[in-house]
């Protein structure tokens, strides 16, 4: 029997996103030279929302892009359904820029690794930061996030599902145990 438990609701999500936007501004002392890149699939709407908050708080226009990391995954030979590659949109030169990568969940670190490789093939940014909503903790690579919405230590037989209005119709986070 699998159990499904809600960890975050819409209100809590909103608070977290606003807080994260503020943390980004605080840590980077503003948002100059900041380019935000969401990782497909749910990182893309999340990036847009964070961008929206930062723009509101700072009253400045920020570049936002999206990145599909399928072609950089190390587990293509193991996934059941062949994914459809999404368009990566980076309408700006990343050379020497400050890149903030955004994803919904950080767990093994493999997606973040793939994203780093993918983004580096577009040029050599000054530095890259990583922002995630949920950090599950089961790292398999030496990777850490710079900004974390919520730490949610989980075991391997559990999974975390982030639902977003843009993709799933509602903002919620669930923890599912098999």
């Amino acid at each position: 029997m699998s159990t499904k438990k809600r960890i975050l609701d819409e209100k809590e999500m909103e608070r977290i996103l606003k807080r994260l936007a503020n943390e980004v501004i605080e840590k980077n002392k503003g948002c100059e030279g900041l380019y935000i890149v969401g990782i497909h699939t749910r990182g893309v709407p999340l990036a847009k929302r964070i961008t929206h908050y930062i723009e509101k708080f700072e009253d400045e226009k920020i570049h936002v892009g999206s990145l599909d990391i399928t072609l950089y995954r190390d587990d293509l030979a193991h996934i059941e359904h062949q994914p459809v590659i999404q368009d990566s949109i980076l309408n700006f030169d990343i050379e020497g820029k400050h890149i903030l990568l955004i994803d919904d969940v950080l767990n093994t670190g493999r997606t973040a690794r793939a994203a780093l490789n993918a983004i580096l093939d577009y040029g050599r940014p000054a530095f890259i930061q990583l922002l995630v909503i949920i950090d599950r903790g089961n790292r398999e690579l030496p990777i850490q996030a710079d900004f974390v919405g919520k730490h949610l230590p989980t075991s391997k037989d559990e999974s975390v599902q982030v639902h977003l209005k843009e993709v799933d119709g509602a903002d919620e986070v669930f923890i599912i145990k098999d």
Partner: protein, 317 residues
């Protein structure tokens, strides 16, 4: 998940065994690949550790380079086998050649041969996926895919388009694959050329219209594709000479007037300028001939990725 179509491990002998959805998936993937090809850094690590063999029993430098570039951009290794100076000249058959290469750990074969059906033969002996890079006058599915992708990119869809293909239909492998694919994608296709260069029952086999007058064939066309006229053909008694051929079937500005204003002009290359296509057309704003070549690499990357870069679906009992 949006799609669950899985092309992993598939052969590409011709487009008959590919569905509309699968062809669209190839196009969507090719779009991404095309973007990668326009980056400063054009390589992605996707197929690291895979090995592709290009077996060109018939010479075709352009197609081979396009495939090899596609393999390299995806970080796979590529070995090329051409008959010039190979063991084939010493009388070794295809079977032994494939067994030998297979023993060295090839993951996918790209095959070009002057005889139809050889890709199937290579697959039979190797038990590995095979991409047909042209078998005789039978088929050339990657060329058709890149042609169709080029149209799809410009027009958004092939549905309802009128596409006219003109030239030596009889000897063209490009035509056969395109007819299968374009019909499948919903286009209306007209083939046009001298009657001696038209294969029998073409209307019946492909469900296309057949015309012998280019003015009629090209009327209101959205796309026109010229085919290479093998210059040797004029010695085979199939048509009197290039002069008469060009005046009746050559793509000129005058001919294009019968088509739609925004007609796309295509050619699978290499062109005989002044024979099947006049420079005024080949270099006009209607021409997407050069882009076809660019798209060739992207489409081949997409195919290689989709066929080699995944896990095959479990056999359904």
């Amino acid at each position: 998940m949006k799609h669950t179509l899985n092309l992993t491990g598939r052969n590409l002998f011709d487009l008959d065994d590919y569905s509309v959805e699968e062809i669209e998936k190839i196009f969507e993937t090719a779009k991404v690949m095309k973007k990668i090809n326009s980056r400063e850094y054009k390589k992605i690590p996707t197929l690291r550790g895979k090995t592709v063999a290009t077996l060109f029993f018939e010479d075709s430098t352009r197609t081979r380079i396009s495939f090899e570039l596609a393999v390299k951009r995806l970080s796979a290794d590529v070995v090329s086998f051409t008959t010039a100076g190979s063991a084939m000249k010493k009388g070794e058959g295809i079977q032994d050649t494939v067994y030998t290469l297979n023993a060295m750990g090839i993951d996918l074969y790209v095959v070009r041969h002057s005889c139809p059906g050889v890709p199937q033969l290579v697959n039979k002996y190797s038990n590995k996926p095979v991409l047909n890079a042209g078998d005789g006058r039978h088929s050339h599915p990657t060329q058709a895919l890149l042609d169709m992708f080029s149209i799809w990119e410009k027009k958004g869809s092939l549905k309802g388009l009128k596409i006219t293909i003109v030239g030596d239909i009889l000897h063209s492998r490009v035509v056969r694959s395109n007819l299968i694919g374009m019909k499948k994608m919903g286009a209306e296709v007209v083939v046009c050329g001298p009657r001696t260069l038209m294969p029998p029952k073409i209307e019946e086999v492909y469900g296309v219209q057949c015309e012998y007058d280019l003015k009629v064939a090209i009327k209101d066309a959205d796309v026109v594709m010229g085919l290479r006229m093998q210059l040797e053909r004029q010695n085979e008694g199939l048509f009197p000479g290039l002069g008469e051929y060009t005046s009746r079937y050559g793509l000129s500005n005058k001919m294009l007037e019968f088509a739609k204003d925004d007609i796309l002009v295509m050619h699978p290359g290499p062109m005989n300028r002044g024979v099947e296509i006049l420079p005024e057309v080949a270099d006009s704003e209607h021409s997407i001939i050069i882009e076809q070549v660019t798209n060739g690499v992207a489409v081949r990357m997409a195919l290689l990725f989709l066929i080699l870069g995944g896990k095959p679906d479990k056999e359904v009992a």
